[in-house]
Amino acid sequence: MNTKLLTAILLGSSVLCSAGAAFAQDATLTIESWRNDDLAIWQDKLIPAFEAKNPGIKVVFSPSAPTEYNAALNAKLDAGSAGDIITCRPFDASLDLYTKGKLADLTSLPGMENFSDVAKSAWTTDDGKATFCVPMASVIHGFIYNKDAFDKLGITPPATEEEFFAALDKIKADGTYIPMAMGTKDLWEAATMGYQNIGPNYWQGEEGRLALLKGEQKLTDAQWVEPYATLAKWKPYLGDGFEAQTYPDSQNLFTLGRAAIYPAGSWEISVFNTQAQFKMGAFPPPVRKAGDTCYISDHTDIGIGLNAASKNPDAAKTFLSWVASPEFAEIYANALPGFFSLNSTPVKMADPLAQEFVSWRDKCKSTIRSTYQILSRGTPNLENETWVESANVINGTDTPEVAAKKLQDGLDSWYKPAK
């Protein structure tokens, strides 16, 4: 009985499906993505907005699990069964697909002019000639603080490094709060929330990053070592046993109101909004001297590109141009506070914390994480080593100079910059 029923259902559904396919004469675009968290946002907000403007094009969002995405996508692309639109991981994973001819060149796509070179850097060939994905969103680094704690202790958000350490001293002297919630157990916190967060102020953002790529600067130069020296000074302000404190520990310490300052990435905003019972504010990485230009890490994270084997390239390009438009940016940025549109047109956002983060783009210069483009292609892997050394510096295992020398030696062993 059960088998019969099952067979009937299967038969019925297959008939219905084929019927549906037969009647759908419009172009149907399928989006491959790893953001299964965003399914509702795409189905309820983004796709209806697009379809309303572009009758005749249907869009289906079909995400897979983040950890399986790269492997699944590669297999589908090889088999020719991948969707028309491909969500792009930043840097080498997507560059690899482009050089294999799986992603189409989008350099001349209408709408691309809405993005700056930094925004496009994650999906541009090494020579900067071709761009193959539309930048969708980035994450910004900074510090989130407990506003109630700051008010109680009479601290204003620090603008310079001196004020920053003065504030930390004050919180520590008061003793109610742990000055800063960060641990070194998971290593990447120290590198991503620490080194890459404050570093751009030292190496002057893109200027230093590109000089490093060209081989004009070395990781042993003062501007790359000093962020480590500053990180080492954070040690006394971290909680007891920070060496064994994990990333979720840090998040909980802050959202439970036990810590005053949290070195953050903007992706924390939506989580913190639901968990923290106190008011929160944010400040950008403090500059070294009052009046210095400030730099922020505005790291490109998600892009979207065109499957070179797509059967509906024109419809897909229409869709991608729409993704490049300010209209998409506004819907997306508001649905996901903390994932900021890379569009040059300013986007209105309702979330105050997200507004604060994105406002730094106007007064500071943006850059991306220094280790992501090209420099993490060899062995030893610079990004992994940066995790380990950043944690070492905070733990006091290595001095900043030793850490920098190890990283540069590792890089020198395989990276020969073109001069």
């Binding site: 840097f91 080498d92 641990g183 070194t184 157990k185 998971d186 290593l187 990447w188 909680g239 007891d240 046993g241 920070f242 060496e243 064994a244 404190q245 994990t246 520990d249 310490l253 280790t371 992501y372 993490s376 292609r377 062995t379 030893p380 892997n381 990004e383 992994n384 995790w387 380990v388 944690a391 070492n392 733990n395 295992t397 290595d398 590792g410 062993s413 395989w414």
Partner: protein, 309 residues
């Protein structure tokens, strides 16, 4: 006569048929992948195609300091991990088995079960539970130490380079103590009562009885346990991965061959996986274990005296 009987006896197909399922399954899921790995280690990916490079991957592994430093570090850590097990797990296992086999002990079935339970827990649960227990923020370890006035002894063990590996070794001992205990317990139960009674008649009792009668009789079991521990430790990966992550922090101090292999083979974060180098490391692990097992089989096991009752 012999010729005719050989002619009469047909080929015994049933032996081959009965062996076939096990041989086929074992070949398909163990032997083929093993040779596949050995073969993979001799190739290298050059512009999207696999090229035979002989022993070049091993030359890189031992000659290039970027690889060799990590390899020797992982091997050293692995040896230490093994030493902890041999020094802590197996002696405690013997003691527990001796206590359990004592006829005067009450609730021995309860103790046996309780001590064995961690062995059947998943690594992920053990790693996560101990991370929480030892957490300086929410863990029970600092409070428990505080109760007995030893708060000053507490440090974030899993985060300190000098303690992390030893701590993980002890966690692993805690988890697997049940196996040596059970094997030795079984070996002790199989000692015939006559032998014990004869010893008692000769005035060998108590501790002397344990050292002179029981221990020699369970030595083969201890040998088996040592080799199981050796193979298990040099294949270990899960506990380190679940407690410390693939980078085996802090500062690679808990990196063992398994985690090193994982990073090389599958890659990690921005590091792209290199199956060929990974296979080279896996081959080294295979050889280390092979040598260890051979030493045991040919040098130790042949010299162990066996007693027939």
């Amino acid at each position: 006569m012999t010729a005719t009987s050989a002619n009469k006896r047909p080929f015994r197909w049933h032996i081959a048929i009965f062996l076939a399922p096990a041989v086929l399954v074992y070949t398909a899921i163990m032997i083929m992948p093993l040779f596949g790995t050995l073969q993979l280690a001799l190739f290298r990916n050059v512009s999207q195609s696999q090229v035979f490079v002989g022993l070049d991957n091993f030359r890189t592994l031992f000659g290039d300091p970027n690889w060799s430093v990590n390899f020797w570090n992982a091997l050293r850590n692995n040896v230490w991990f093994f030493i902890i097990h041999m020094l802590v797990q197996n002696p405690i296992g013997v003691v527990l088995a001796a206590l359990l086999s004592s006829p005067k002990l009450r609730f021995s079935a309860f103790y046996r079960t309780a001590i064995f339970i961690p062995t059947i827990l998943s690594f992920v649960i053990v790693g996560f539970a101990w991370k929480l227990i030892l957490s300086p923020l929410w863990g029970v370890a600092p409070n428990l130490l505080d109760l007995i006035g030893l708060k000053s002894f507490f440090t974030p063990w899993l985060g300190k380079e000098e303690y992390a590996l030893t701590t993980l070794g002890l966690i692993s001992v805690w988890q697997f103590i049940g196996i040596p205990m059970m094997l030795i317990y079984a070996a002790m139960l199989s000692i015939p009562d006559e032998v014990i009674e004869a010893a008692e008649c000769d005035g060998v009792t108590g501790m002397a009885q344990f050292w002179k009668i029981k221990l020699p009789l369970i030595l083969p079991a201890i040998g088996i346990i040592s080799i199981l521990t050796f193979v298990g430790n040099f294949n270990a990966f899960d506990l380190i991965y679940s407690a410390q992550g693939a980078l085996a922090g802090p500062n690679y101090s808990t990196d063992i061959l398994g985690t090193f292999l994982y990073r090389a083979f599958f890659g990690f974060q921005l590091q792209v996986g290199d199956p060929n180098m990974g296979a080279a490391i896996a081959t080294m692990m295979f050889l280390i274990i092979l040598v260890g097992v051979c030493i045991y089989l040919f040098l130790i096991q042949t010299r162990l005296r066996r007693y027939q009752f």
